[in-house]
Amino acid sequence: MRMYEFQLLSQDDQIAILYQEGIYIGKKKADKTTLLYQLASFYVEITYASYRRVIQNIVYSESTSVLDPYLEQIPIEYLVT
Protein backbone atom coordinates (compact mmCIF):
# COMPACT_ATOMS: atom_id res chain seq x y z
CA MET A 1 0.00 0.00 0.00
CA ARG A 2 1.24 3.48 -0.87
CA MET A 3 1.03 6.36 1.58
CA TYR A 4 -1.48 8.34 -0.48
CA GLU A 5 -3.77 5.27 -0.69
CA PHE A 6 -3.61 4.91 3.09
CA GLN A 7 -4.39 8.60 3.59
CA LEU A 8 -7.57 8.22 1.53
CA LEU A 9 -8.99 5.66 3.98
CA SER A 10 -11.26 6.58 6.88
CA GLN A 11 -9.61 6.96 10.28
CA ASP A 12 -11.26 3.75 11.48
CA ASP A 13 -9.86 1.82 8.52
CA GLN A 14 -6.41 3.34 9.02
CA ILE A 15 -6.43 2.30 12.67
CA ALA A 16 -7.58 -1.22 11.80
CA ILE A 17 -4.79 -1.64 9.22
CA LEU A 18 -2.16 -0.23 11.55
CA TYR A 19 -3.28 -2.63 14.28
CA GLN A 20 -3.02 -5.63 11.97
CA GLU A 21 -0.02 -4.73 9.84
CA GLY A 22 1.79 -1.76 11.38
CA ILE A 23 5.19 -2.18 12.96
CA TYR A 24 5.36 -0.33 16.25
CA ILE A 25 8.43 1.90 16.43
CA GLY A 26 8.04 3.81 19.67
CA LYS A 27 6.17 6.11 22.00
CA LYS A 28 6.72 9.76 22.99
CA LYS A 29 5.15 10.98 26.19
CA ALA A 30 5.08 14.69 26.87
CA ASP A 31 2.02 16.92 27.10
CA LYS A 32 0.38 14.47 24.67
CA THR A 33 1.26 10.86 23.92
CA THR A 34 2.39 9.96 20.40
CA LEU A 35 2.91 6.54 18.85
CA LEU A 36 4.94 5.93 15.70
CA TYR A 37 4.29 3.00 13.35
CA GLN A 38 5.85 1.88 10.12
CA LEU A 39 3.60 0.57 7.40
CA ALA A 40 5.19 -0.64 4.17
CA SER A 41 7.59 2.18 3.16
CA PHE A 42 6.09 5.02 5.15
CA TYR A 43 5.50 6.09 8.74
CA VAL A 44 2.35 7.00 10.64
CA GLU A 45 2.49 9.08 13.81
CA ILE A 46 -0.63 9.16 15.98
CA THR A 47 -1.02 11.88 18.60
CA TYR A 48 -3.68 11.40 21.26
CA ALA A 49 -5.70 14.08 23.02
CA SER A 50 -6.49 11.31 25.51
CA TYR A 51 -4.21 8.27 25.28
CA ARG A 52 -5.77 5.43 23.27
CA ARG A 53 -9.19 7.06 23.71
CA VAL A 54 -9.23 10.23 21.59
CA ILE A 55 -6.97 10.68 18.56
CA GLN A 56 -5.97 14.29 18.09
CA ASN A 57 -4.19 13.96 14.76
CA ILE A 58 -2.36 11.57 12.45
CA VAL A 59 0.77 12.56 10.56
CA TYR A 60 2.12 10.61 7.58
CA SER A 61 5.69 10.66 6.34
CA GLU A 62 7.98 8.85 3.95
CA SER A 63 11.04 10.48 5.50
CA THR A 64 13.15 8.56 7.99
CA SER A 65 13.68 11.82 9.89
CA VAL A 66 10.46 11.06 11.82
CA LEU A 67 12.41 8.24 13.48
CA ASP A 68 14.84 10.64 15.18
CA PRO A 69 12.92 11.20 18.45
CA TYR A 70 12.34 7.44 18.76
CA LEU A 71 15.83 6.13 17.93
CA GLU A 72 16.72 5.25 21.53
CA GLN A 73 13.66 2.99 21.76
CA ILE A 74 14.48 0.91 18.70
CA PRO A 75 15.97 -2.38 19.89
CA ILE A 76 19.24 -3.18 18.14
CA GLU A 77 20.57 -5.90 20.43
CA TYR A 78 19.11 -8.56 18.15
CA LEU A 79 21.12 -7.14 15.25
CA VAL A 80 24.41 -7.60 17.10
CA THR A 81 25.80 -11.12 17.24
Binding site: I15, A16, L18, Y19, Y24, T33, L35, Y51, R52, R53
Partner: protein, 144 residues
Protein backbone atom coordinates in the same frame (compact mmCIF):
# COMPACT_ATOMS: atom_id res chain seq x y z
CA UNK B 1 -23.32 -16.06 46.51
CA UNK B 2 -21.03 -16.93 43.59
CA UNK B 3 -17.44 -15.73 43.73
CA UNK B 4 -16.37 -13.48 40.90
CA UNK B 5 -13.76 -14.61 38.38
CA UNK B 6 -10.56 -12.73 39.04
CA UNK B 7 -8.60 -11.34 36.12
CA UNK B 8 -5.20 -10.13 37.20
CA UNK B 9 -3.57 -7.36 35.16
CA UNK B 10 -0.14 -5.80 35.68
CA UNK B 11 0.89 -2.63 33.83
CA UNK B 12 2.92 0.41 34.79
CA UNK B 13 0.83 2.65 32.54
CA UNK B 14 -2.17 3.90 34.50
CA UNK B 15 -4.01 4.80 31.27
CA UNK B 16 -3.81 1.19 30.11
CA UNK B 17 -4.87 -0.10 33.54
CA UNK B 18 -7.98 2.08 33.32
CA UNK B 19 -8.66 1.04 29.74
CA UNK B 20 -8.72 -2.68 30.62
CA UNK B 21 -10.73 -2.11 33.79
CA UNK B 22 -13.29 -0.13 31.80
CA UNK B 23 -13.41 -2.84 29.13
CA UNK B 24 -14.32 -5.49 31.69
CA UNK B 25 -16.92 -3.22 33.34
CA UNK B 26 -19.69 -4.85 31.29
CA UNK B 27 -18.80 -8.16 32.98
CA UNK B 28 -18.88 -6.59 36.41
CA UNK B 29 -21.43 -9.09 37.74
CA UNK B 30 -18.96 -11.93 37.57
CA UNK B 31 -15.51 -10.51 36.81
CA UNK B 32 -13.22 -8.59 39.12
CA UNK B 33 -10.08 -7.03 37.66
CA UNK B 34 -7.24 -6.97 40.18
CA UNK B 35 -4.30 -4.79 39.15
CA UNK B 36 -0.63 -4.26 39.92
CA UNK B 37 1.43 -1.24 38.90
CA UNK B 38 4.70 -3.03 38.17
CA UNK B 39 6.24 -6.47 37.83
CA UNK B 40 7.50 -6.68 41.39
CA UNK B 41 4.05 -5.88 42.81
CA UNK B 42 2.54 -8.41 40.39
CA UNK B 43 4.91 -11.19 41.37
CA UNK B 44 4.52 -10.43 45.05
CA UNK B 45 0.72 -10.73 44.77
CA UNK B 46 0.86 -13.91 42.69
CA UNK B 47 3.39 -15.57 45.00
CA UNK B 48 1.25 -14.73 48.04
CA UNK B 49 -1.80 -16.60 46.73
CA UNK B 50 -2.63 -19.74 48.64
CA UNK B 51 -5.39 -22.29 48.96
CA UNK B 52 -7.56 -19.86 50.93
CA UNK B 53 -7.33 -17.04 48.40
CA UNK B 54 -9.09 -17.12 45.03
CA UNK B 55 -6.74 -17.79 42.12
CA UNK B 56 -7.06 -15.61 39.01
CA UNK B 57 -8.68 -17.25 36.00
CA UNK B 58 -6.43 -15.18 33.72
CA UNK B 59 -3.20 -13.22 34.14
CA UNK B 60 -2.47 -10.32 31.78
CA UNK B 61 1.04 -8.85 31.79
CA UNK B 62 2.30 -5.73 30.09
CA UNK B 63 5.70 -6.53 28.59
CA UNK B 64 7.53 -3.24 29.03
CA UNK B 65 7.15 -2.53 32.72
CA UNK B 66 9.95 -0.46 34.18
CA UNK B 67 10.38 -2.53 37.35
CA UNK B 68 10.62 -6.22 36.40
CA UNK B 69 9.23 -6.59 32.90
CA UNK B 70 6.42 -8.89 31.81
CA UNK B 71 8.78 -11.47 30.29
CA UNK B 72 10.56 -11.95 33.61
CA UNK B 73 7.28 -12.10 35.54
CA UNK B 74 6.03 -14.75 33.09
CA UNK B 75 9.17 -16.86 33.62
CA UNK B 76 8.72 -16.64 37.40
CA UNK B 77 5.01 -17.49 37.18
CA UNK B 78 5.85 -20.67 35.31
CA UNK B 79 7.92 -21.74 38.32
CA UNK B 80 4.92 -21.40 40.67
CA UNK B 81 3.06 -24.72 40.94
CA UNK B 82 -0.19 -23.16 42.17
CA UNK B 83 -0.43 -21.10 38.96
CA UNK B 84 0.61 -23.82 36.53
CA UNK B 85 -2.86 -24.08 34.99
CA UNK B 86 -3.68 -20.37 34.92
CA UNK B 87 -3.53 -18.91 31.41
CA UNK B 88 -1.21 -15.96 30.94
CA UNK B 89 -1.36 -13.32 28.20
CA UNK B 90 1.43 -10.89 27.32
CA UNK B 91 -0.06 -7.52 26.35
CA UNK B 92 2.05 -5.04 24.44
CA UNK B 93 1.89 -2.03 22.12
CA UNK B 94 4.49 -3.73 19.98
CA UNK B 95 3.54 -6.78 17.95
CA UNK B 96 7.18 -7.88 17.76
CA UNK B 97 7.68 -11.40 16.43
CA UNK B 98 10.35 -11.94 19.08
CA UNK B 99 7.86 -11.17 21.85
CA UNK B 100 5.26 -13.43 20.24
CA UNK B 101 7.82 -16.25 20.05
CA UNK B 102 8.76 -15.64 23.68
CA UNK B 103 5.10 -15.89 24.71
CA UNK B 104 4.71 -19.13 22.75
CA UNK B 105 7.86 -20.60 24.34
CA UNK B 106 6.39 -20.00 27.79
CA UNK B 107 2.93 -21.23 26.81
CA UNK B 108 1.39 -17.76 27.06
CA UNK B 109 -0.90 -15.87 24.75
CA UNK B 110 -0.02 -12.62 23.06
CA UNK B 111 -2.34 -9.68 22.45
CA UNK B 112 -1.40 -6.33 20.93
CA UNK B 113 -2.63 -3.21 22.75
CA UNK B 114 -5.24 -1.15 20.91
CA UNK B 115 -4.59 2.01 18.97
CA UNK B 116 -8.05 3.18 19.83
CA UNK B 117 -10.56 2.43 22.58
CA UNK B 118 -13.01 1.17 19.92
CA UNK B 119 -10.82 -1.94 19.60
CA UNK B 120 -11.13 -2.82 23.30
CA UNK B 121 -14.30 -4.87 22.91
CA UNK B 122 -12.55 -7.16 20.42
CA UNK B 123 -9.45 -7.30 22.63
CA UNK B 124 -11.51 -8.14 25.71
CA UNK B 125 -12.99 -11.09 23.81
CA UNK B 126 -9.45 -12.18 22.87
CA UNK B 127 -8.52 -12.12 26.57
CA UNK B 128 -11.57 -14.18 27.52
CA UNK B 129 -10.80 -16.67 24.76
CA UNK B 130 -7.64 -17.60 26.67
CA UNK B 131 -9.66 -18.75 29.71
CA UNK B 132 -10.83 -22.31 30.22
CA UNK B 133 -14.13 -23.28 28.56
CA UNK B 134 -15.95 -23.26 31.89
CA UNK B 135 -14.70 -19.78 32.79
CA UNK B 136 -15.49 -18.48 29.30
CA UNK B 137 -19.08 -19.71 29.64
CA UNK B 138 -19.33 -18.29 33.11
CA UNK B 139 -18.02 -14.85 32.13
CA UNK B 140 -20.20 -14.56 29.03
CA UNK B 141 -23.32 -16.08 30.61
CA UNK B 142 -24.59 -12.81 32.00
CA UNK B 143 -24.37 -11.09 28.64
CA UNK B 144 -26.54 -13.54 26.75
Amino acid sequence: MTLKNIIFYADDDTDDLELVQDAFARFTNNVEVVTAKDGVQALSYLQSLNIQTPTPCLIILDINMSILNGRDVLKKIKELPHLSTVPVVLFSTSSSTLDQEFAKKYDAGFVTKPLDVSQMEMITELFIDHCSDEIKRNIRRHLS
